[in-house]
Amino acid sequence: MTQKNRLQSGGRVDRSTPLTFSYNGKQYTGYKGDTVASALLANGVDIIGRSFKYSRPRGIVAAGPEEPNAVLQVGATEATQVPNVRATQQELFNGLVCESTNGWPNADFDVMSYIGKAGGSMLTPGFYYKTFMYPQSMWETYEKFIRKAAGLGRSPLENDPDFYDHLNQHADVMIVGAGPAGLAAALSAGRSGARVILADEQSEFGGSLLNSRELIEGRPATEWVASVVAELSELDNVLLLPRSTVNGYHDHNFLTIHQRLTDHVADKAPAGQARQRMHRVRAKWVVLAAGAHERPLVFGNNDVPGCMVASAVSTYINRYGVAPGQDLVVMTTNDFAYQTALDWADSGRNVVAIVDTRPNPNGDRVAAAEKRGLRVIKGAAVIEVQGSKRVSGVSIASIDAKGDKVVGSVERLSCDTVASSGGWSPVVHLSCHTGSRPEWRDDIIGFVPGKTVQKQLTAGGINGSYSLKACLEEGARQGAEAATNAGFEVAAAAVPAVAEVKEGAAMALFHIPHTKPTSRAPKQFVDFQNDVTAAGIELATREGFESIEHVKRYTAMGFGTDQGKLGNINGMAIAAKSTNRTIPETGTTVFRPNYTPITFGAIAGRHCGERFDPKRYSSMHKWHLENGCTFEDVGQWKRPWYFPKAGESMQDALNRECKATRESVGILDASTLGKIDIQGKDAREFLGRVYTNAWAKLAVGKCRYGLMCGEDGMVFDDGVTSALGENHFIMTTTTGGAARVLEWLELYHQTEWPELEVYFNTVTDQWSTMTISGPNARNLLAELTDDIDLSNDNFKFMDWKEGSVAGVPARVFRISFTGELSYEINVQANYGLYVWEKLFEKGAKYDLTPYGTETMHILRAEKGFIIAGQDTDGSVHPYDLGMGWCVSNKKPFSYIGKRGMAREDCVKPNRKQLVGLKTKDPSVVLPEGAQAVKDPNQPIPMTMLGHVTSSYWSANLNRSIAMGFVRGGLERMGESVFYPLADGRVVEAEICSPIFLDPKGERQNV
């Protein structure tokens, strides 16, 4: 394939290094230094996709991140697919594979275009809202169709083979953009010795200088760029980041930079290299030198391939050596676009005409074009383009001085390319990310950054300073100021000499009038990516959408992957005019991060797979793995869930574990329970204030169960706390609540009762805890200790003893969550596995059976013990749980929860209360969450009485058991409630005590 639009010379591409790539299945050749866009243009590819709504053919219109149409799917393999890549930003590499995102079945022949043609007037703004909303149940069907037809990019179906990095950085001065202003700023700041980061989204530094033929010190500007980059590279305090888009400017000068490390090298990153890196920069001062984007003008059929932004045409010629056509018509409201005509002429192509909307343009560039003999048509505009898959000509006409209407006759000109310029829009996006509202300036016809609370300076195009001289001066000054503000006093770097170009005043014109009213004229596109037209915006305002934010949402202007970089200002101008307001009165929509789309890979960095979230393991984890354990995630902990033997179902395993524990002895790894060491002379007083029960008289050597409530009186955690010494306690919490409880204790100590002398420390990880439970628990433990008297008289239920177990120093607590004779053995965590294995060595003869959380839940439910977080939900107080025995009314201090549970609503009768539930059919296990009703025949909505919180099959009782809330349940023992289930069954259950087994608690006291 020949590169028919490639110029013989010029540009920054390396013609000695050809690169082949595939676009829509066809092979093309470009050169090193090309972007996919410049290579496609070189090859004469006009159509790059189909439009979102009308399915019109679209071509490349811009040369940077503002490109709305050339949004490609890139990737040679399924795993390396990247959606929505801007062809204008993707550097070419050998073997690159890409395809159009839009267009079904393909971009050249498109089914939807017929719908678009037939239904052009049907697809008005709000079309999707109005048409596809009803019936709601059909939305999923519609969405699939719309997505397929509209062609948003698709994500890969396989895992990304590449890895991505995050890097935290600190900078004294962060400079965004390495055009003339940014480079000058970096020179000033870099020379001060301040830590400087200079980031630019392009592959090379230089910004607009790479695209122009301007001279600095009488030599090509790129030579100056090279000398600056060379100096900066030598400075150790300066970090240069090319291919790095500053995508977000967050609070307190925190910036996120998306650096593409290998996207320009190959489809997949070379081995051992990160594909992309996210820099997270905290900067003392920021200099925004992000430049400006040129606005295209809005005129009839301005979306036909061949219509481009004027500066983009210059960029393709000057930077890439590509003239994307033969016969050019330029339309402009300002002097800048004359340069495009001059560049075009210099490349040996035909400039048909420069159509200037101003009646009397008078700048230097105008004079240069006229001197060159180019035809300049003044006070006129291109009102309409001819052609469908490529521009074939234009209609031009004289317009009035305000640009409101066509005043002359229409002339037709043949051409294949239309370059338009409506002036420049400063890239204020990053400034807006910080919450600052941009301000309109009539003199530059654009928004500039508004007031900010950030330590931020701006320089160059972002300020509406478009001359090279101004960019260099502002950059040097602001770079020096930023460094000085950051504590590195320095003078501004000297500014090199540049020619001064006299600019004529630009005309504030956005929307070119047509001979017909906007609603009847050929479509005049504002937002190419979302197919928003001038007529659509006017219609939206007529339908009453006056706020620019509403216009945006109604028309979809500014949505999509380009976020309205190209079209938003034009759209706002049209909305302003159609509501008889000024642009500042109309205002702008809000730009939010990210500036350009960013891959999920870069956002995730290394935080994926195994590194997504920490996993916590007990010391005995290895044993669990070796013994066929099935795990349950509890917070970050991997807790044993149950231990199935070969051929066992989960229920089989649970039945076996439950029976073995009640009949002989079972063992649970309880290491994950939160453990908080509490010391200090006021520790006891403190416990009394945070628990609902009494702690003043708990003797050393004793353990006590406690309930913890919030100030609202609602239970939020529970656990056993033991007196290790007069002023030393060990508190246990639920596994998931450990961190919350510790912070809760700290909160009250630090903010409410700092006068209490008490200290808290987490010791969860320092201890391994194994609970042996069952009638043989004492016999088993006796085999491993000779210094703890295990007799029932000397080591009572709710006592704890210090001694050794298997030769390891241990704290043994005789507490029970199963209702069986039970010992909780705590040893230093690194001895955990050893002691555990010793227990199994000695436990074989007792058929010591490991069990996990599920059997623990069943065994405790047989005893009616609650699990905070399962049987409580933040709306139940201790009395609701039938646990009034755990609430002291005698404590002098008004402990946390006391006042709360005395509130009117908390003491009213008929609250939902936790009760036991026995299904009438003992084989039926209620689903947890099932809703209780009194009368299942009541018409829906039925009066709901509560719900099931815990429900299991109890092998020991050979029936189902459940706990749940029932309104007034504690007063309704023996009554029936009904549970209508989703499958149509209605389960009847009898309200009973939640203590299903051993109601007198004899088993644990043996």
Partner: protein, 95 residues
């Protein structure tokens, strides 16, 4: 993401190490039993929800684990000051 000076550690740390713990200066009534339900509800639930200057309680959760107060602008997210529990803010809305 905020950049927060911990008055206990006496250095700036990233927000990831902290979390907010609600409005500052909400003192637990010294005699809860003397509070009416309305007063207790006020203590429990009602907050100023300020637009602009706001005094907040923060905790250096993965740092020193200590609580401290912050005066912050809820519109601009500007941190005006941090001060220890028990101290009074220097920057207030009446100024």
């Amino acid at each position: 993401m905020h950049y927060i000076y911990c008055p206990h550690c006496e250095e700036y740390r990233e927000e990831e190490e902290f979390h907010a713990a609600g409005e500052a200066h909400i003192a637990r009534p010294l005699d809860p039993e003397a509070c009416t339900d309305a007063e207790w509800a006020d203590f429990l639930y009602f907050r100023t929800n300020s637009r602009g200057l706001h005094h907040e309680l923060w905790v250096h959760a993965t740092g020193c684990r200590k609580f401290f107060n912050m005066t912050r602008d809820t519109v601009t997210y500007e941190i005006k000051e941090v001060y220890k529990v028990g101290e009074q803010p220097q920057v207030t809305a009446d100024q």
